[in-house]
Amino acid sequence: MNFKNLKLAWRNILRNRKRTTITVASIFFAILIALCMRSFQLGSYSHMIKNVIETYIGYVQIQHKEYFDDKVLENSIEYNQELIDKIKSDNNVIVATPRIETMALASSGDYSKAALVMCVSPEEENQITKLKDRLVKYKLTAEAISGIKQENIPEDFFHKLDSLENSSYSNTLKIEIDFEIEGEEAEKYIPLITKHSAFKSDYLRDDDDGILIADRMAKYLGIDVGDTLVLIGQGYQGASATDIFPVRGILKFPTPTLDNMLIYMTLNRANDYLSVGNKITSVTLSLDNTSDKGLEETAENLKQILGDEYAVKTWKQLNKELVQQIEADEDSGFLMIYILYLIIAFGILGTVLMMTAERKREFGMMVAVGMSKLKLASIIVVEMIFIGLLGIVSGIAASIPIILYFVSNPIRLSGEMAATVESYGMEPVMPVALQADFFIEQSIIMIAIIFMATLYPLLKILRLKEVKALRG
């Protein structure tokens, strides 16, 4: 194809601008909507994944081979430096921390509740799950609220303060969201709020005999820092595990399920409480490259290094529910996008049909004066490619700034919507992800649609009877 043909095609496009604009616009919007929708979807998945992985399960866990199917302390592994060295010989592993997970009945006074007890090495655990950042630092007790009310604050704060009584916060950002203030307002009022609501939680030392307890659970049991809690569980090989623990700190988890059941203690304390000696139920890893590929490679490598005695489980195997949830949601998302594409495809086909009918005489004329049908057809194809590229490129160009904006300013849900999302166990935000591979995928699908729409005028041209076409 020579340059003349390209020029001819371009001129044809510009000749009927209205027609071109309609076709380009339909492609543009299809791409824009598909990209934005999908980015929100992908964003919420990676957010859900991060929420679960980084607050609790970790990317990879090394367990006893039977632990996954039968979660009892007897299916535990011996913890020693040799094991850790072997695991860390994989370059993708950043932190490898030992844990014991066990269930217990937490009881205080007349109240009791099932608890998931995590026995950890405090400093290493903090490197993986940032547990320290979850310590409650501010608490709106009745006393704090009356203190804040004495300060110079606007009237409409009073109602908010009352409705937020007993809320706990581990950072000021959540306070800003709950009070719906930002910028200058936040700078002015946050210090007043934190001044009165400061709350002292301690993190665990390595030799600590106390526990950290999740906020909602602590509220249910009616206990606070400095109180004691009784845990009744089952120890190693049938030993009884009943003991009393002082509460060192309160932790605030965004996901209500975790906030209702987690208790942390040190491994040293667990050895005594569970009579478990030097055994642990898992080594939890954080990885440098957390992509699907990096994850699989590391898991495969660790399986080779550690052998059959151990099970290497990625978060996908550990939390099948989450993976299934994402897959189901993904399917419904794809269905939406396919319906969108179907509509767009018919839209494009419509304009192409119109164009073919409109230019029937023109085509007849061209062929009559000696242009080969093949050449004419190729010009039409080039026209369609131009239109398609225009739509795709402009669609991508328009969606990138929108997506980028929401990446840095995720939508925070509020009110009832937020409560609903929270009740599903998720943080009430709508984050967005920017993923290149998805852009390419969508462009290819769009080009395929355009080619299919081009088939009609092509067939028309190849079967053209000049005389008939010229007569109209």
Binding site: E74, V230, I232, Q234, G235, Q237, G238, A239, S240, T242, D243, I244, S275
Partner: protein
């Protein structure tokens, strides 16, 4: 004529005795094993595919209503006391200085991680009252002539087993084997009683083995080391105050 009448009287008497004994046999056998009031020293061995564990304990009992168990080893559990009054159960844990009432919801949970449930400790006593009894057959079992008796739960009785089949030796009347079935007639546990020895004033089996049907390789063996059937223990002994004091 007179002779015939006597003959009829004798045969009917004996058959009357036979049909009437099902309940009596169970009652007598039960009384024999338990006595009016008693103190015992026992050891319980929990066998699991990967580990075994032995707990020793002392027990006090008065009739079927009251009993108290003090754990004497291992060190971790030493000092724990279980008290049973009627159908209620308490657990004193010295380590946390707390009295825990075992709630009804936890009755079917394992006791001290053995194959006994809390309920087994509390409800065993009602096998005479809460079940109907019928002699199924007589057969030889481990060199003993035995009655095989079927116990069916009465409609309104709050018991944990739907059916129990028990092998009771004739003459000496000790139970040698029990099979425990649930309401749907599935075999759940098999209990064997062995090692017949002279304990205090009577010969009784001293080794009880519970084998759950569903879990392979699991069993629990309860052995009586010493029993005193004539100890007089007052009802007032079985109190929450005494749980904290007992050694």
């Amino acid at each position: 004529m007179r002779k015939i009448l006597i003959l009829i009287a004798i045969t009917s008497l004996s058959s009357f005795a036979y049909s009437q004994t099902a309940k009596e046999i169970v009652q007598k056998s039960y009384d024999k094993l338990n006595g009016k009031s008693s103190t015992s020293t026992m050891s319980m061995t929990i066998v699991r595919p990967k580990w075994t564990r032995t707990v020793t304990m002392k027990s006090w009992a008065n009739g079927t209503k009251y009993s108290m168990i003090l754990i004497t080893s291992p060190a971790k559990e030493k000092g724990q006391v279980f008290l049973k009054r009627d159908r209620e159960m308490w657990n004193w844990v010295p380590k946390i200085q707390r009295m825990i009432k075992i709630p009804p919801s936890m009755m079917m949970q394992s006791w001290m991680s053995s194959d006994f449930t809390n309920d087994d400790l509390v409800q065993q006593t009602s096998i005479v009252v809460d079940y109907t009894h019928k002699i199924l057959r007589e057969e030889k079992f481990y060199n003993h002539d035995c009655y095989v008796i079927e116990l069916k739960a009465k409609e309104d009785a709050a018991v944990s087993w739907g059916k129990i089949i028990t092998w009771i030796a004739k003459g000496e009347l000790y139970t040698l084997k029990n099979e425990y079935y649930d309401e749907d007639n599935y075999l759940i546990n098999t209990e064997k009683l062995e090692n017949i020895k002279l304990m205090d004033d009577r010969k009784i089996p001293t080794k009880y083995t519970i084998i759950p049907e569903e879990e392979e390789g699991n069993k629990t063996i309860l052995e009586f080391i010493e029993t005193d059937f004539n100890a007089k223990i007052e009802e007032s002994f079985f109190s929450q105050q005494n749980m904290k004091k007992i050694r």
